[in-house]
Amino acid sequence: MNLLVALQIGLREISSHKFRSFLSMLGIVLGVSSLIATLALTTGIERGTREFMQQMGGLEYVNVVNKEISNAQFEFWNLSPGRTLRDAQILRQSAPLISHISPELQFGASVASESQSDRKRVTGVFPDYFVVSRQQLAAGRFLTDLDVDRGLRTAVIGNSIATLLWPSVPPEAVLGRTILVNDRPFEVVGVLPKYEREQDKRRREVGGQKKPIGSSRRWDPFRSKNDAVLLPYSTMFYDFRAGAFPLDSLESVRLDNLTIRVGDLDHFPAALEQVRAALEITHRGVDDFDLDTREEWFGQMETSIRATRLSGGLIATISLIVGGIGIMNIMLASISERVREIGIRLAVGARGSDIFVQIIVESMSIALIGGILGVGAAFGLIEVLKAIAPSENVPVMTASAIVFSVGFAVIAGFLSGIYPAVRASRLNPISALRYE
């Protein structure tokens, strides 16, 4: 008997007992919809987190930080020049696994336009900074080697600064305007886009109410990126830092930040080793620095995503198994009702395997229809979830989650059909025919 005929028989059987079939499908419907919803939720969380990780500089981002010197080395503390531009130079020469190095100088300054002013942190950077921090552009250009080499008075500013200084002026129109940093004029050559978390973006899109940036009481990891005022490193040093300590030069001034980007994550530990070896020399053996990586932090995020997905999936799987048991129950009742029918089919030449196929196909059809209904229910369920928890990451329903869940339901239908099908296929034709 071919499968098409078996399918026809199964569908006829299902449609002739609509309510009973619906009841047996219900478990599958709930199981599939909760499985899809769980997968959608975790996918949403995962996407949000990954995007966040990317915007935070990704796993390749490594921060060279100062470290308290141990007591044993205390007497040698001033042997080390600390983090300087020399570090960056030596890393560029002797740490080939590091693709970008971004030394930074920072200081608080008054930042002003013609009409507005505020105190902000100003950062002097090299072009590598934009790569290491994964900056994008809303308008204009990044700072270039030329800006740094010539010590030009150019600036790239974050989105919040642009809106603070020139409210309701689009980024393109901000280009070319003059920003006063401690009363020295700089030309704005680039504006960064507005960085925000997924949930903030959604709240803005859905809720409509705009909270002024910075007033959010919750921790905003992009605040420093949005508040950036970026000047060429050299300009920054000569205009604002030279002379503070007479012995300071461009080379020897202590950096406020030194971040690097590892070129290839496959060689992450080796890259860190190269950095340590190089800095050991410039710091003259004084152990006053440390490498701060995102490995652990991101690893924890990954682990918690995986745990969420696993536990949610497990619960949904249990409900699918319950659904499968429901199907098995109904199929067993259904075949004991149809013993005579099976006897007739056997008498006209059906083999045991034909009966087996018929029952298993019917069971899988119930599961498949239940699964398809479950996909519909999942759409509704996700809308409910969005309404209940709008500030969370958007649930993302993927095609693979749908296929996986429905496929899983069909497998549950297959497994729960096996026992009834075996029982039906082993019926003896004579006693089945006589069965009343």
Partner: protein
């Protein structure tokens, strides 16, 4: 060549350590084109004999050949195949599938023979017309009279063009006039060359055949031509 050949066939049922011989050393040969009746009181073993001849069951002892192949130790699948291709059954209780219409009931053996849908439709329509149900294709069994139901059953038995047609008290659930019609159909089928085996407890019905085999206590008691 004989269509049916039984040699010392027994069917033994065991209940605990008790042994019950429903059939005991039956020898029987039925040739192509014969019209045979098997009669006997209930419990005589005539149904058991029909189940063996109809390949619904395999013998416990002895040798059984149906349509030239030895089925003494045949597997369930082999028996199903013979039932499907060589044998048609007409039962007392019609045994139609209530959810299927006339055509779908008639085409059932073709489904298991692996015949394509279009061909199934063509043949079942042809057979339905032959048994006089040309205007009833889409009716369900509940919408048919007993005689019509039995015609559907005969159609289903004939659709695979089997070599032997078995009737198990085919008129038992019908009034006498309708029963006459059905028996007439059997006679006509035999006249057109079909081998027919009728199982009944009624000697009057058996009288329409040309050879009567009387069974008692699992043995062939006598054989006569009415």
């Amino acid at each position: 060549m004989p269509l049916v050949h039984l040699e010392g066939v027994s069917k033994i049922y065991r209940l605990g350590d008790q042994e019950f011989r429903a059939l005991d050393g039956v020898n029987l040969t039925i040739d192509d084109g014969e019209f045979v009746s098997i009669i006997g009181p209930s419990g005589s073993g005539k149904s058991t004999l029909m189940h063996l001849l109809g390949c619904l069951d395999a013998p416990s002892e002895g040798r059984m050949e149906i349509c030239g192949s030895d089925l003494s130790r045949a597997s369930q699948n082999r028996l199903a195949e013979v039932r499907n291709r060589e044998i048609g059954f007409v039962f007392q209780a019609f045994n139609l599938l209530p959810k299927l219409n006339v055509l779908q009931n008639i085409e059932l053996p073709l489904v298991y023979a692996g015949v394509k849908a279009a061909e199934r439709k063509r043949r079942s329509e042809e057979v339905a017309r032959e048994v006089g149900l040309g205007d009833r294709f889409a009716n369900r069994p509940v919408q048919l009279s007993g005689g019509q139901c039995q015609r559907v059953a005969i159609g289903r038995a004939l659709v695979n063009n089997p070599r032997i047609l078995f009737g198990d008290e085919p008129t038992g659930n019908l009034d006498s006039t309708t029963g006459e019609h059905i028996l007439k159909m059997f006679r006509e089928l035999n006249a057109s060359g079909k081998t027919i085996v009728l199982v009944t407890h009624d000697p009057d019905i058996a009288a329409i055949s040309r050879r009567v085999i009387e069974i008692r206590d699992g043995k062939i008691q006598r054989e006569y031509a009415p």
